[in-house]
């Protein structure tokens, strides 16, 4: 798989140090937020600082993008570097520096762009959290942006690791933002610990890289790779991709370590939108894209990525179908889409994966923000069964139609941006030489249909049908802050039509509406690179960005992807027909049928006759053969319970035993026991001091006699 496609060599450019501002600005706004909290300044000052800082860093990235000519390494200051010899393996350097190449810019553009929009959205969304809480929230957001930029723009893997754990910390602080609720605190702890497991894999991968290449800086690593890479691939070198993979799956919530993402929905919705949908979860994809050449170190490495990606996509889609909480559904859809991205990376199209990340970031953020608007308006109500007919309620028209756009993109409706990005992935899979990639391709298509079904299940349930809403009775998982005014005159509504005695959902104000509009436009705009390529046969901007970086190297011979952009010439790699038709048109047809089919089924079950959906569920539950399906899907395939049983319980029991052992056995028996030995010996000799004069005399004489007897015995033995 290794191509001799050389990774472009970075040139050291200290004059570009101003790009470091993108890193520094969020840090400054974080410090300002701390000052606001300490000085208890009223108003939305923290929000202002954060939005300005993020906007400024977005401008900096834009300028950097304009001034970008080739990969650049920008040293800022020496963080960790020492050497105990002059040999290649006798120094350990991890400077605080930036490595700017097209992949970095591609990522930073949508990270900072979305960050600014969502920060603006949050300024209104969190307004009820006046005082220290408000500042604490925006402190978390700023810290997150700082960590994400250091992760993406870092010059070496230790900077990446700094960002990696930094985003973990930010997600811990923000998920647990509403610390009064134990569920939020537990979710935050779970998120951090699962990330930590992934981080361990990443750390071990970093050590192994240093052990084998002597350096952790990308430029030197890629140089080593270009110079023929590792000649002798023994066991510890080929383990590198798997370790990096473990880190990526931990952070991007893939199969083994994904249960923390749905629980992360406990956090406020802007957090879910920014961190758990758009930016942080893509860190795994970025890592594999950045270190793509190293995934050639083991033949089966990329195949594993593909399999896990495909598997997670299907698993998450099945669970997503059976959830009733809008944010949970979108969370599982995020996991499923991430599965697609890893499938893309696995089958070899880094362009497909990265572009899908790009488009997904936009429409998933849009969906989450609309869900947030609904929660904000309906006092924390997110249950599908308790909300419907949003479209007809005055003031909510914008929210429902922006949600519609989001759902269309998520369902990969033909000729939407997501369609093209998913198409690129599935095309590569279906036309690949390996049978398992083809199978994964078809699996991906089936999952696409499921995605379309559950996306529109949500839309039809919430936005269409009779107008009916019940405020969240206990604000069980919505923002506790909202239930303050939600309690008004709540009483369980009877029948389909809600009897609203004085409870009026308040429509979103200007900030949320403008952000939703902008994001909708953004989602559509995200498709332009694909439209440009598909219709106007121009160059695909995204493709150029990915091809210019290390992500491209090591993939399948790029000429296949490049020439596909230059129209239909003979495809000589793999069999290039899908279902007998030519690759592209074939996939267009199949993709369209999958997504439209899904939408139609959803329309039938959830728009036209809702009762039939419940009837279907009852039918499935009734017959014991198919009973397991709905139960498993609703209960998330019992993954959490399995983890609890497999790891948490035995460890907890083990620690109880150890604690008991430490206190009684090690401390009580051993230590105190040894301390009692001399006392026992003392008791042994006690009778000798009975007090009788002649008793002492006898002992004394016996002592002397013993010595003399020993002397005589030695003397008699000839004293040799």
């Amino acid at each position: 798989m290794i191509t001799d496609f050389p990774i472009p060599q970075a040139v050291v450019a200290p004059e570009l140090a101003w790009v470091g501002l993108a890193l520094l600005l969020p840090l400054i706004s974080a410090v300002l937020c701390v000052v606001c909290a300490a000085a208890r300044l009223p108003g939305k000052l923290p929000a202002v600082f954060t939005v300005l800082a993020l906007a400024a860093s977005f401008v900096v990235v834009l300028r950097a993008y304009n001034a970008y000519s080739g990969p650049v390494q920008v040293p800022i200051f020496e963080w960790m570097s020492f050497a105990w010899g002059d040999g290649r393996f006798q120094q350990f350097t991890a400077p605080c520096a930036l490595y700017i190449d097209s992949l970095t810019l591609f990522w930073m553009l949508f990270v900072t762009g979305l960050g600014t929009l969502i920060a603006l959205y949050a300024s209104e969304y969190m307004e009820t959290e006046k005082g220290a809480g408000y500042a604490r929230f925006f402190f978390g957001i700023s810290i997150f942006l700082f960590a994400m930029s250091s992760l993406v723009m870092g010059d070496n893997l230790v900077m990446l690791y700094l960002g990696w754990e930094g985003v973990g910390l930010a997600s811990y602080l923000l998920i647990g933002f509403d610390y009064q609720r134990p569920a939020a605190v537990a979710a935050a702890k779970k998120a951090f610990i699962m990330n930590r497991i992934g981080d361990l894999g990443l750390a071990l991968g970093i050590f192994m890289l240093w052990a084998n290449y002597g350096t952790l800086q990308y430029s030197q690593l890629f140089q080593a790779m270009n110079a023929g890479g590792q000649t002798v691939v023994d066991w510890d070198v080929s383990l590198i991709p798997f370790l990096l993979m473990l880190g990526a799956f931990g952070k991007s919530a893939q199969f083994p370590l994904f249960t923390w993402l749905p629980d992360a929905m406990e956090g406020p919705t802007p957090v879910s939108a920014l961190i758990h949908a758009a930016t942080m979860v893509t860190a795994g994809v970025f890592l594999i894209a950045r270190m793509y050449p190293f995934f050639a170190l083991h033949p089966e490495a990329l195949a594993t990525v593909a399999w896990i990606g495909g598997g997670t996509a299907l698993l998450a889609a099945t669970i997503g179908m059976a959830q009733y909480d809008i944010k949970r559904v979108f969370a599982y859809s995020t996991i499923s889409q991430l599965g697609y991205m890893f499938l893309g990376l696995g089958v070899g199209t880094t362009y497909g994966a990265c572009y899908h990340t790009f488009t997904h970031a936009f429409f998933k953020a849009l969906l989450f923000l609309t869900a947030g608007a609904i929660m904000h308006g309906f006092a924390g109500q997110l249950d599908l069964r308790k909300l419907s007919g949003l479209r007809h309620i005055p003031g909510w028209r914008l929210v429902s139609w922006t949600m519609f756009i989001g759902c269309l993109w998520l369902a990969a409706f033909p000729y939407t941006a997501a369609f093209f990005s998913k198409d690129a992935i599935l095309l590569k899979a279906l036309t690949s030489a390996r049978w398992d990639f083809v199978f994964l391709g078809w699996l991906g298509l089936f999952t696409a249909a499921l995605t379309a079904y559950y996306t529109f299940r949500v839309w039809f349930r919430v936005c269409c049908g009779p107008v009916h809403f019940e405020p969240a009775a206990d604000g069980h998982h919505g923002d506790a802050s909202h239930d303050a005014h939600g309690h008004g005159s709540t009483h369980p509504a009877q029948g389909a039509h809600a009897v609203d005695h004085g409870f009026h959902p308040h429509a979103p104000k200007w900030a949320i509406s403008t952000v939703l509009a902008l994001l909708a436009i953004g989602t559509v705009a995200a498709g332009f690179p694909a439209y440009n390529e598909a219709f106007a046969h121009g160059s695909n901007w995204a493709q150029r960005m990915i091809a210019g970086s290390s992500a491209a190297a090591g993939a399948q011979p790029e000429e296949h992807a490049a020439e596909s952009a230059a129209g239909e010439t003979d495809h000589h790699a793999g069999h290039s027909t899908v279902l007998g038709m030519e690759a592209h048109t074939g996939l267009l047809v199949v993709g369209a049928t999958a997504s439209i089919g899904g939408i139609l089924i959803a329309a039938y079950l959830h728009l036209l006759s809702r009762a039939s959906a419940d009837a279907l569920r009852r039918a499935l539950m009734g017959n014991w053969v198919t009973r397991w399906l709905p139960i498993c899907m609703e209960r998330k395939w019992f993954v959490d319970e399995i983890y609890h049983g497999l790891f948490r319980l035995p460890l907890w029991l083990g620690s109880q035993v150890l604690h008991f052992g430490d206190k009684h056995f090690l401390d009580g028996l051993l230590v105190d026991g040894i301390a009692r030995v001399p006392i026992a010996a003392g008791k042994l000799f006690r009778p000798l001091y009975g007090g009788a004069l002649q008793g002492y005399a006898v002992s004394m004489v016996a002592g002397v006699a013993l010595v003399l007897a020993w002397m005589m015995w030695v003397w008699l033995r000839g004293f040799e």
Binding site: Y689, G691, A692, L693, V698, V701
Partner: protein, 126 residues
């Protein structure tokens, strides 16, 4: 204690000790050395066995005399007068001890009517 076959013990002890010393210091004086050793051992055993404090003191005197006799024998052997000088000092010191011992015994007798040493054992660990 007196059921002990004293004479048998004495005879066997005599030749054993005599024989031991004979090898070391010339044949003819071995007898007196043996006697001195016997004196010492009798004093020792008497000290441990007899209850009466005065008898115990006498036994210590006996031990002293045993040592003195050995000293004289060796002086004779080495034809050196300093041994005998030593004995004179042993006698003086023994006399001093006697005075002291009887003083103590009288002091204790006044406190408790008995002369037996067993009475005095309430010090010591239970």
């Amino acid at each position: 204690m007196n059921a002990f076959p004293a004479h048998a013990l004495a005879s066997t002890a005599l030749e054993g000790i005599g024989q031991a010393f004979a090898a070391a210091s010339g044949a003819q004086l071995s007898l007196s050395l043996a006697i001195s050793a016997l004196l010492f051992v009798i004093g020792l055993v008497g000290f441990m066995v007899r209850r009466n404090m005065i008898i115990m003191f006498l036994c210590t005197e006996l031990m002293f005399q045993g040592a003195a006799l050995a000293m004289i024998t060796f002086a004779r052997m080495h034809m050196d007068v300093s041994g005998q000088v030593f004995v004179i000092f042993i006698l003086t010191v023994a006399a001093a001890e006697a005075a002291l011992a009887l003083g103590l015994v009288v002091l204790l007798h006044r406190r408790r009517e008995t002369l037996s040493a067993e009475v005095w054992s309430d010090l010591g660990e239970a």
